[in-house]
Symmetry: C2
């Protein structure tokens, strides 16, 4: 099983924790039906934080898992109060970007929360019976009807693949950021409560660090200056990385003497997540810590590598955008 | 339009109030697409209180309306915590009884809340955005997740026939007991809020008195001794009516002198709702008030008439039960 965990997200501790991942791996090893499920909020163009999840999904596909991807349009509309048409449009864009980043469409399935079939919605209605307001408030704080419906929808997202109607996958794995764990615990509780009635079992989960923005805070579309979007121009990437927070010292002289601090550096974070193999990464860290490479040069390397990666992405995106019969990939909501 | 309102439910003020019924009648008069919608809780065999609604629906069919009937199985399961298999079985029974009572299947449609198509559920998710907890609490008191989902489902029941997907009926009429008015007000508010986005318009409603049980309190399946069920045996009907609360005096002598008080009498209530035409009813009231007929004899008449009505119902029910392809009438939930 260790063999399966050689991806750099594991070796570099980007994925740092789990619940019942071992059980899921065991099922995978035995050739049982396993699935990886994750959801995305369709509220803008994906950035590198999203691409990190694409990477995870590609990895899980590569070791034999089927992947199911939720476009959380119901939540975007009701809780985040996004425009519905935009939400659908962003959802379709999202799918194109996921495929352009390299997700294998043969082993993946996408769906809009508002375009599912009735057995999925039936779960939302049924789950409502066995969850209390107190349990939901413990997770979501003050509740609105929109949050209640959204939370139940999320639990249905996580558990519906276990139904015969949706493939009967008894082993569901949900890779998330650790901030999402309360939802997973809710889904596990619901699975327990419907074990007898619907034969549900607890989902597994892995927890990954969140790629930070170029200023060291959260990478978010609401702070576009510090995020790198997958449709970003070469020029914009160059500018943004040039401005990124590093672990460099106050002066070049000082840095040559004391060395840089890569653990504080957002450029090094990009290397860690996306850009270098283990050997390159170790060498670069060494060069940095010993003061043999300065931030300017290091950034130039990062820029070239990232520009190349995004260029390749853009090329595949353009092909997909022209040739993809999106209607065959996903069912669009009728209104 | 007055012509349309000659049914004894109107002339006897059993239907005693409305919201925008005149608008609905006007649309009907103009030959526009109108619909009557009502819902039933599938938690037991229908009784005469339910049959009263069947009567209303038959009447609305007779003046040209299409009828849509909700089997509220999601609510029965989640809020009333009924067994799901039983709920589905009672729902199917309910449909047979409605048809046996005389509802025209050519002008009616039944559905289970948990077996609808996605556009209906999408409404539930969308409506959640524009309803507050405070509004729901004002109607339902303390909320549970089940009540929140149920309330939104109910609003979707009332408003979904307006969608093109479901017939595009712009004039929905909901005949209810007056205790249901808060739900109607909620549905009207939601219609207003989605007028722009989805083109919804306010539903109309009529309000009927609720047939009481034989002891003068609510007719309910939870007090079976005082309710008359549509699958009741002749013997049980005889016994129950013999025990019914009447407007009779302490002694026969006194009653001959002072006369009975039909307005206090549950047997007279049955006559008013179901058993007599206007001429007969007036004569009987006269006989009673003048002390010329005593309760024993009056009950015997009621028993014969009701037994006959139920016998006719049972005969039609048996035929339907044997010959009805229920799968062609309603889509059953898959689990």
């Amino acid at each position: 099983r260790r063999e399966l965990l050689k991806h750099h997200f594991f070796t570099r501790r980007i994925i740092f924790g789990h619940r019942d991942f071992d059980k899921w791996l065991e099922a995978l090893g035995k050739g049982e039906k396993v699935i990886v499920l994750t959801g995305f909020m369709p509220s803008g163009t994906p950035h590198l934080g999203t691409a990190m999840v694409f990477e995870e999904l590609k990895y899980f596909q590569s070791i034999g898992a089927y992947v199911k991807i939720v476009i959380a349009d119901a939540e975007a509309y009701a809780v985040r109060r996004e425009d519905r048409d935009l939400t659908i449009r962003f959802g379709l864009e999202f799918i194109k970007h996921a495929l352009a980043w390299g997700l294998n469409p043969e082993k993946a399935e996408f769906y809009f929360q508002t375009a599912m079939s009735e057995a999925y919605y039936r779960l939302i209605q049924m789950f409502s019976r066995k969850i209390t307001m107190a349990e939901m408030e413990a997770i979501y704080g003050d509740l609105s009807p929109a949050k209640v419906v959204s939370a139940l929808t999320q639990v249905a997202d996580i558990l519906h693949p276990e139904l015969e109607e949706f493939g009967g996958f008894k082993h569901v794995l949900v890779p998330v950021g650790v901030d999402q764990d309360p939802h997973l615990r809710l889904a596990r509780d619901v699975a327990d409560r419907f074990e007898g009635e619907l034969g549900l079992t607890r989902p597994s989960s892995t927890y990954h660090k969140l790629l930070r923005g170029l200023d060291g805070n959260k990478m978010s579309k609401s702070r576009p200056d510090f995020a790198i979007f997958l449709d970003e121009s070469e020029e914009a990437i160059r500018k943004k990385i040039a401005m990124a927070l590093t672990g460099g010292r106050a002066t070049a002289e000082e840095q040559r003497k004391l060395g840089g601090e890569p653990w504080k550096c957002m450029v090094f974070e990009l290397y860690t997540y996306f850009l270098l193999n283990d050997k390159e990464l170790n060498e670069l860290r060494e060069e940095c810590v010993k003061g043999r490479i300065l931030c300017g040069e290091c950034k130039r390397i990062a820029i070239e590598k990232l520009v190349e990666r995004i260029r390749e992405h853009r090329k595949r995106y353009m092909e997909i955008n022209e040739n993809l019969a999106i209607d065959r990939i996903v069912k669009k909501p009728s209104f």
